[in-house]
Amino acid sequence: MHCLTDSAVQAVVDTEADDATQAHVAGCPRCRARVEERRRDMAALAVVMTAEGDVSPALEARMRQAIATGQAVRGATTLRDAPAGSWRRAGWLSAAATAAALALIVFLVLPKLGAPTSLSASEILGRSLETLSSTTGVETLDYELFIAGAMPGPHRIEHVIDHDRPGRFRFSDYRPDGTVEAAISQDPATGRRLHLIRVDDKAYVVDLKVGKGAPLSLPEMGQALVETAISMMQATSDQNLTTLDTPEGRQYVVEMPRVTPASGVAMLDLYHARALIDERDFRIREFEASGTLLKQPYSVSFRLLRRSVRPSAEVAPEEFRLPANPGDIVLSGETAQDPLSDVLAVALREIGRLRGR
C-alpha cells in the first residue's frame, strides 16, 4: 500500500479510516509521523474551540425558561415577514413636563433595548433590561425626536452621559438651524448645574451651584422610567417581531400592539410601542411610543442618528458645560431642596431684585 493521502491521514486521526489504512499507519514510520502531527493539530484546534467559552449562566437560565414555557417559538412572538409600515403619530396634546419626561424615556430606551434575537420579542426586551447598566465611559447619542403636541417638528437631541460618574451629563436640544433651543448640564466635579433656555431668540443661562444634597440625576431618573417601560412592554403577551428588508439592510421591528386605554390610575401607561432595529449592529434606529404619564397623554417618536462611547479620561470637561455666548443673559443661584423648581426660583429672585431697584 502506498503512503497515505492527506485526507486519509485526516481520516485516521478522526477515527474514520478503514482497517487497511490503519494497518498501514501502524507499519509506516512516515505516515505514523504524519498522523501524529495531525493529531497535534487537531488537539490545538480542540483547545481553540474550548477557548470559545461556555454557555453563560444567563443564557442557560433563559433557555430553561424558554424551554419550560415554549413561548418563543409560538404565537405572535415568532418572526414573520411583513410589509413595511409607516410611522403613526397620534395627534394628542401633551404637557411640556410630560414631554420632557418622555424624552428621557426616548433617550434611554433607544440604546438600551439591545440586540434582538431571531426568536422572540420578549427575549429582546429581557436582554434590554440586562444591559441597562452595562455601559461604561461617556456615551454620546444623537437623535431626531418628535413629541406630538409639544413640537412643531422633529428636534435633534444630543445626549452626553458619563456612566462612570453619577450625575454628570448634558442634554442639548437643537433647532433645525443648529442653534441650541434648550439644554441642561451637570458636572459634580465643578459642583454646577446649568440650564439654557431660549425665549424669543434670547438665550437665558441659569448657573446653579449644586448644594450638599443629592444632585439631580436625569439619567438615573430616565433609567428608572425606561426599566418600567420595558417591563411593561415585556409583560405584554403578544409583542410582534417582524422583519423588513430595506436598502440599508434587514431591520427588525418589535411592536407592542395598540391596546384600548383603560380608566388609568397608573403613573405610566403604555398603549403602544414600536422599535425598528438594525440587524447589522442590533441598535434600535427608530422608536415610537404612546400612552399616559401622570394621566397626561403622550406620543413620541425618534430616530437614532449617531452613538459613540469613549473612556471618561478622553472626554474634555467642556463637554459637560454650557458656555454662555455674548448677549446671553446669565442668572446665578444655588440649588434648593426641590431641584425641579431651582430655575424658577432663580428667575423669580432676579425679577424681584430688578423690581426692587
Binding site: 485526516q10 481520516a11 478522526d14 474514520e16 495531525r38 480542540a46 433557555m63 424551554i67 431571531s118 440587524e279
Partner: protein, 173 residues
C-alpha cells in the same frame, strides 16, 4: 478530542419534549455554542442561535420528529442558522479589523491562543464550519449533513481546512 467526545450523551427514551430538550441542552448546549461562536466569531450571535436551535428542537420533539440522531440534527440546524446569520451579515464578507466595532471579548483568554484564533477567524466560512463541527466531535456523516457537502468529500475538505489554518498561523508569526 477526548474531552469533547466524552461529553456526548446517548439519546435516551423521551420523557417529555421539554425535559428531553433540557437534557440535550445540558449535554450539547456548550458544544453548539462553541461551534456557533467559532463559526460566527460573535458571542451574542452565537447565543441567539443556540436559543433558536434548542427551541426548534423542542418543536421538533413535540411534533414527533425523527430522534435517531438528535446531536447531528442539532448541529445541522445550528449550521443552517449560522449560514443564514452570516448571509445577513454582509454575505460572508471577510472580517476587517478597521470595520469591526464590536467590543473586545474574552479578556481572560490565554495569550498563546490569540494567533491560533486569529488564523482560524481568517479562514473561509466553509473551512471554519468544518473545523468547528469536527472539533465538536461530529462524525463525517453528521458533518456532511450539517455542512451540506458529500460525505466522501469531508475528509479531504477537512484536511485542506486544517492545512490552510496552519499556513495562516505560520504566516502570522
Amino acid at each position: 478530542m477526548r474531552s469533547i467526545e466524552a461529553a456526548q450523551v446517548p439519546d435516551a427514551p423521551v420523557a417529555d419534549p421539554a425535559s428531553e430538550s433540557l437534557r440535550l441542552f445540558e449535554a450539547h448546549g456548550a458544544g453548539v455554542f462553541r461551534f456557533c461562536r467559532a463559526t460566527l466569531g460573535n458571542r451574542s450571535d452565537a447565543e441567539d442561535i443556540v436559543q433558536d436551535t434548542f427551541l426548534k428542537l423542542l418543536q421538533h420533539l413535540r411534533s414527533g420528529g425523527d430522534r435517531s440522531n438528535l446531536r447531528g440534527w442539532l448541529f445541522a440546524v445550528a449550521a443552517n442558522a449560522c449560514r443564514d446569520r452570516a448571509k445577513w451579515r454582509m454575505r460572508w464578507l471577510p472580517w476587517r479589523a478597521d470595520l469591526d466595532r464590536r467590543p473586545v471579548e474574552s479578556p481572560g483568554e490565554s495569550p498563546d491562543l490569540g494567533p491560533l484564533r486569529a488564523a482560524f477567524a481568517a479562514l473561509a466560512p466553509r473551512d471554519r464550519l468544518l473545523l468547528s463541527l469536527r472539533a465538536q466531535g461530529l462524525s463525517y456523516r453528521e458533518m456532511a449533513a450539517a455542512a451540506r457537502v458529500a460525505e466522501p468529500s469531508v475528509g479531504r475538505l477537512l484536511a485542506r481546512a486544517v492545512d490552510r489554518w496552519k499556513k495562516k498561523h505560520i504566516a502570522s508569526r
